[in-house]
């Protein structure tokens, strides 16, 4: 019953969502709409649950003085200060704004910006015209890089048009294939889940 009940709930809900798309029946459509609202509520609860779980895990690390406990302390204290300031003085207050604009935003942006350096270093080391395919890849990469910056049009006025052609013809064709195949796979996987043929998403041991 531990596995059967969640499978039943998932099956009924999934079938309800599918049928709602194709059938105009007020009672059924209203039921589907209610379920969609429940999903939003569950998503909000899961946010809070995630925060509580994070605190629980890192508190245990701090209490046990395990490896990296200092970073856990920084995380927990920052998290609690942000939550308390957001709930008490509000998100428009200077304290909350300083926490977001002074810590979170620069920190997140920097982590992302570091990728530029890693990608540049990797590109310099790996882009080699070893064979025909690698040369084509290299040439395309150079054209797209020049097309995505104003310097490309300074070097050659037609560069943006060539770059746009690569994006709209060969790249779009490949992307279209990817979208179609992933959509078919998505349907297949979720049909298996809805019809109860697959229960890996439940996790745990099979009993």
């Amino acid at each position: 019953m531990k596995r059967q009940f969640p499978l039943l709930v998932a099956s009924v809900t999934g079938l309800l969502m599918i049928v709602d798309n194709f059938v105009k029946m007020p009672a059924l459509n209203q039921a589907a709409s209610t379920v969609r609202t429940w999903v939003v509520i569950i998503a909000l609860i899961s946010l809070a649950l995630g925060a509580v779980n994070l605190l629980r895990i890192h508190s245990a690390r701090i209490a046990g003085r395990r490896a990296g406990w200092v970073y856990s302390m920084v995380l927990c204290s920052t998290m609690l200060v942000t939550i308390i300031s957001g709930l008490t003085v509000g998100q428009k207050h200077a304290i909350y704004r300083h926490l977001y604009d002074g810590i979170m935003q620069p920190g997140s942006s920097t982590a992302m910006a570091l990728l530029a350096f890693f990608v540049a270093s990797a590109a310099v080391r790996s882009f080699r015209a070893r064979n025909v395919e690698a040369t084509l890849l290299l040439g395309t990469a150079i054209i797209l890089m020049l097309g995505n910056a104003p310097v490309g049009s300074v070097i050659y006025s037609g560069m943006p048009r060539i770059s746009a052609w690569f994006m709209s013809i060969p790249s779009a064709a490949a992307q279209r294939g990817l979208i179609i195949t992933s959509a078919i796979a998505f349907i297949a996987i979720n049909l298996r889940n809805i019809l109860g043929f697959s229960s890996e998403w439940l996790g745990g041991s099979k009993d």
Partner: protein, 268 residues
Amino acid sequence: MRSGLLNPDRRVVYLLLIIALTIPLLKPFGMPIPISEDTRTAYAYIEGMDPGARVLLSIDYGPSVVAELQAQCIAFLRHLARKGIRTYVITTTPDGVPLAAAALTESFEAAGKREGIDYIYLGYVAGQEAGLAAMGDSLASVVEVQNKPIMEGIGKLSDFTLAIALRGDGVLMWVRQAYTKYNVPLLFSVTAVVAAGTVPYVQAGQAIASLTSNKCAAEYEVLGRLPGKAVATMDAQSSSHLLIIVLIMLGNVGYYLTKRPKAQEARP
């Protein structure tokens, strides 16, 4: 020297990149910015909207991609404010909420527009695609619908004339929930990483246009005469791209210089 070209010291690459990025930010070159077709299409669409239009703008990104998308967000909002189009802003990421406040401050508030009459921030919509699907049924099921004049006639997703989504990842949820179900016209602004994946939707007519990252934000600012930060970053983007290309070329020169002596040695 050959091995230096083949495998340059990472620190040298990083230092050169820092220099290539910093100098244009401090002393701009002023390179002309060509306008792409997507930007022209997006701008013309908003410019052609009548004052009675109602636009939903969704900030679906967080602080990690602020550098790529915030300038475009502000450019859109400034354009909408200038046109006097009623704009409704939501966020689908919890860490995008302060970004929405900042964008509205720099656009609608700076233009002297009134909250609740000319624009409104509806709040955070939880559940990603599920939240969007619930918005299709009723806005009140996902956000607190305030009793303000701007909310008259707005009850669900299909009541909007246009939906603008600024996303750091795929746009499929908007195509599925907004366009396919309710035929709401879509405009995207996405990061460069996912830009290629949005082209098929534009070509299929499911989206009006898809603007890519800071480049299109700069084009939008130039086209609409909407002063912003994106233009200032274009010279840095140009110099960094050029630097990477030059280093790749040098790496290939080093590769062929080391390859040829080995090939000559291998001959009997």
